[in-house]
Symmetry: C2
């Protein structure tokens, strides 16, 4: 390759390539192929189109960027460095993939300012992008006025072949097409190489045609390696189409510039090696030392700082005018952006007494959502096609649809995984929106990767999961969670709450809303079937995770620990045992995670070490329960899959009856 004099754009693009190459070479770990091939589209996008302020990465009205192909993280770090973000210095780049660096293996929003979402697990990013675009569309429809636009940004995503093979990306693209999210623009790095080699081995579909089928506006840049004008033109065309999301297929060569390894799987996920690095330098006419960026490039790229400051200043001015004209809306908007909750919001949550007829906790959840929705305009979400089973409709709003983006009831369709990642995107939009996503508890299995990412990437989402045990009944074992609670409780940073009745459901929402505002997700596990309102439960006690609702005089001989729909069995059994002169305590334990955050004294007060006779009652596996029942305790649990029969029959047959609790209790007491 003969290198003529390079333009500043070309030099900048090569700077990205070599920052990636050199960082990965130093780390002896990373993925150079994507940064080298996608540098032209990414640089064109960031330098020519995107509005952002490097010195205030959280400026509200910035364009959002998602590197869905997160393994190409060096592309993003190089951009952040070149464009003047403080979060990534050249020293940080030298520490790529090292302990406590701001340049981890995959982009992590909670570590590196300028990174919007955490990507790496493929396909998540494009679905996050749909959430970001949804958030923008919703806020724009809610707050913009004919004479005042304060919400107005694009969401750009770079995704690769891997993202496009994942089902989640198809789900997300389908619903984005349905919604007509015109300010979502995806650039597909069509480099026809994945880890196993040419995409010919497993991926020969017509991606463009598929996106057309989803209702997207589809463009093609044939030479994404050198034709910067074509890239720019395509982005312009994409921006001009405002009623459909756009997908620009940009055909590139993976590892562009590496004379021997480009266009091979060998450059996808491994350092180039000394010889190939040298050959690439020669090939691309790059005479600079490792990590050296010519000053003329920095002078050029860091104009972004000035541009950014002026974008933000303009917006600040616009917002100041808005505030004058629309003080109520501006106050609401500012309150929401700040993350603060309106005073008294939690007073809307109802409390209950045992004389009130019990309902299913999913029904109490519906009451909570509808009590909160009017006072929390940031609450937005819905179900994966189970709205009237999950009971998640906000009665004060309509359906979020194309042309009705101001509405807050989101129909995700039967797309649990995309729902999860879209909710994460909404939360990580950083505008105070509080998303919720709902399905049957069993189908968290379909969206587990997204739930995990909500916990990892600090996305304040509420996961509303109903039909939470074999008590759901006739649908049978495919629909009956057994191991699901355990599998969710095991996820770090996720709070799982399984309320027992009306009070505890209100308490669960009180915790969940507050946690969402602190950027932590909560998962609610709710019954299909009715449960009684129990004595001793309370809204505020839920935050403790576990608490005594029925107690004996003096030190109890036995502690019954129940959660959710099984607490009632504990209460009934305790009553019978007390009548027989036994000293029995009942602990309601809606949340293990919340209990674990209590101090030792409180924990001891609820579950005293001296009381070793303990029986847990939960219509799920006992996996994990030994931590609380100890070696001398026992569990009423189910260790097989469930069965199809009416819910009451299932519960009874599998031993979730007062009689069985009593029998096990008596064995412990004997």
């Amino acid at each position: 390759m003969v290198v003529a004099t390079q333009s500043l754009d070309e030099l900048s693009i090569n700077a990205i390539r070599f920052l990636a190459v050199d960082a990965i070479e130093k780390a002896k770990s990373g993925h150079p192929g994507l940064p080298m091939g996608a540098a032209p589209m990414a640089f064109t996008l960031w330098n020519k189109f995107m509005k952002f302020n490097p010195k205030n990465p959280k400026w509200f009205n910035r364009d959002r960027f998602v590197l869905s192909a997160g393994h190409g993280s060096m592309l993003q770090y190089a951009l952040l460095y070149l464009l003047g973000y403080d979060s990534v210095t050249i020293e940080d780049i030298k520490q790529f993939r090292q302990w406590e660096s701001s340049t981890p293996g995959h982009p992590e929003n909670f570590l590196t300012a300028g990174v919007e979402v955490t990507t790496g697990p493929l396909g998540q990013g494009i679905a996050n992008g749909v959430g970001l675009a949804l958030a923008e569309a919703h806020l724009a429809a809610t707050y913009n006025k004919p004479d005042a636009t304060i919400v107005d940004h694009y969401t750009y995503v770079i995704l690769g072949d891997g993202c496009n093979m994942e089902g989640i990306s198809g789900e997300a693209a389908s619903i984005a097409g349905h919604w007509g999210l015109g300010k979502l623009i995806a650039l597909y790095d069509d480099n026809h190489i994945s880890i196993d080699g040419s995409t010919d081995v497993a991926f020969t579909e017509d991606v463009s045609k598929r996106f057309e089928a989803y209702g997207w506006h589809v463009l093609h840049v044939e030479d994404g390696n050198t034709d910067l004008a074509a890239i720019a033109k395509a982005i312009e065309e994409a921006k001009a189409v405002t009623d459909k999301p756009s997908m620009i297929k940009v055909t590139t060569i993976i590892g562009y510039g590496a004379p021997n390894k480009s266009d091979t799987a060998g450059i996808h996920g491994a350092a180039l090696g000394t010889d190939e690095v040298a050959a690439t330098r020669k090939n691309l006419g790059w005479d600079y030392a490792p990590f050296e960026v010519p000053q003329e490039v920095l002078d050029y790229t860091r104009k972004a700082i000035e541009r950014g400051a002026s974008y933000e200043a303009e917006w600040n001015q616009a917002f100041a005018q808005y505030k004058t004209k629309y003080p109520t809306e501006a106050a609401a908007f500012e309150r929401q952006l700040s993350g603060a909750l309106p005073e008294g919001w939690d007073k809307t949550l109802a409390s209950f007494t045992p004389d009130q007829k019990g309902l299913a906790t999913r029904k109490y959840s519906e009451e909570c959502l509808n009590a909160l929705a009017p006072v929390l305009p940031e609450l937005i979400g819905g179900s994966a096609d189970l709205t009237h089973s999950n009971l998640t409709e906000l009665h004060c709003s309509g359906d979020f649809q194309k042309g009705a983006y101001q509405n807050r009831n989101v129909h995700f369709g039967v797309r649990e995984h995309a729902m999860g990642a879209i909710c994460n995107g909404i939360a990580l939009h950083g505008s105070g929106l509080l998303p919720f996503g709902a399905t049957f508890l069993i189908f968290t299995d379909y969206m587990r990767a997204a739930i995990r990412l909500s916990a990892l990437s600090e996305a304040g989402v509420i996961w509303v999961m109903t039909h939470d045990s074999i008590g759901q009944g006739e649908d049978g074992p495919t629909h009956q969670p057994i191991e699901v609670l355990a599998s969710l409780r095991a996820i770090p940073n996720l709070t799982v709450i399984r309320p027992a009745d009306g009070n505890e459901t209100s308490g669960a929402y009180k915790v969940a809303i507050a946690k969402a505002k602190e950027n932590a997700p909560t998962l609610l596990s709710l019954t299909r079937q009715a449960v009684p309102n129990l004595p001793g439960t309370s809204i505020d006690a839920v935050a403790k995770g576990a608490y005594t609702i029925v107690d004996s005089e003096g030190v109890p001989e036995l502690i019954l620990i129940g959660t959710g729909s099984e607490v009632q069995l504990c209460v009934a059994a305790a009553e019978k045992l007390a009548a027989q002169g036994k000293k029995v305590r009942v602990v309601s334990m809606p949340s293990w995670e919340l209990f674990e955050t209590q101090d030792a004294a409180y924990k001891e007060s609820v579950l005293p070490k001296a009381v070793t006779k303990r029986l847990s009652v939960e219509a799920a596996t006992n996996f994990g329960w030994h931590k609380y029942v100890g070696t001398e305790g026992d569990t009423v649990s189910i260790e097989t899959f469930g069965a199809s029969a009416p819910g009451g029959v299932c519960l009874e047959k599998f031993g979730f009856s007062v009689d069985n609790v009593l029998a096990k209790a008596k064995t412990l007491l004997s």
Copy 2:
């Protein structure tokens, strides 16, 4: 609607409709909409096209049928009853969705003969269908001869809007199109209603165009309610195209025949109610009592019994000829069908001694797979685009591709979820094939629903999961499993094995292969990083789940329990403690599930109750470990997400070091 004299086909179709309506009415639970709308396509398919033998539902060369829209289970039960299967009697239909009936809420292959796979979780069935079709294509390419065809059947799938919204169906359809599985025919019940109402609320993409983009042959039946000729013609056309899978979009009215509820979400998943049942009877001219099927219908439909017997007889004759001409192949085929393992198969698994340089357990896994592949021709599988990371290539075979179906290395692409369901389909083909699917352990989150279904539906699959801890290193927390082992161990009927070294990896395969032949799945958790070969490990001990590899004289004061890559830390710590005069036992515990199946005496011999000072060491959450370490024990574990850094650094920083094990051990001993 004026009902003219009905043909036998029409009567049979109405019989299906009313069996569904009446069964659901009696159960007060179920999904009548799909059976009523899809009865014409399903009956035409089963009565006119499908080859099966009702009196031998497992006859090898039968056409396979999958009701991917499993909630419409009454459709399948009605068909099985009408066509003469013994597994579903009219009494069974009256027991729809009741305790221990053969007619559960969703089709369960392990309960009801004639049901091939377990469906209900949407999208799984179409992906299972791809697996069934793959199995047929592979066996046909392997065993058929130019003059003798013994493997030759179609795989038919009925799927609905819900299936088509799920990402897994897109993944499966994409790879099926790539493979050109011409004998896979999907009928899409296009009834434009899902639970939330009209599909207009969330699903407006062009499904046909999308399937064309995947490389499918696409057809459309415009009136799937009454135009039986068009349905038959479309199926004929689909069968005639042999180089592409076919998708027949059959436009129907959900709940066809119900005058007030058809074409509404109200009929999707609830009984019609007395009035609407009566109105539907009138509307469709059905004068029969609930559960009554006119004798002329049964006489007509049960001709399937005679046809089936003759299909099987023909095939038996063909196979007898094959056996004469090709005795070696016939013997291999019969051995495989029987589920028996060839003698001495396990002798191919290597054993190791501590003086042999240790390798990563993924590397030992590669050796096992390649030792087994030549003696187990039924072994077929691959990776979701991580072949050379998971190390799953079978060197004795080529790539399974269009035109090379005899090969056994399957490239699934970056489609973990479809991979899971395809493997389940291969296993449930019932032909002795032994599928394996591989990815990074963390990405079991993407395919968890399919792994669960392997356990529930008794699919003998081996899940080969590598990069099984923070020891995977630089990729960071998105790629580092923390809670994954716990979440998998919690699944009933799934055996999780985390081998410590070469011997234990061989032992893990020995267990996994045997279990697969007993229709039980096993998941292997394997390291990215090298581990030493340890003293005391053995192939056969793995089957015990846990066993002592280093022991003290007399009763130990302390038991160190390790799994996988952390057993080495226990051994090294025990050595140091022993030098200090401490009595320490090391237990290697590759599998909780296998240990749990041991008798009480064995368990006591390994983990004596009297020894309460126990320390588990596993680079994962301690969730669940309290069962083994008890209330007086401790754990070396990680309770947060991981971090991006070289694997050794991660392990050290998070406390997986001999020093930290020693420190915790000393605290316990003090």
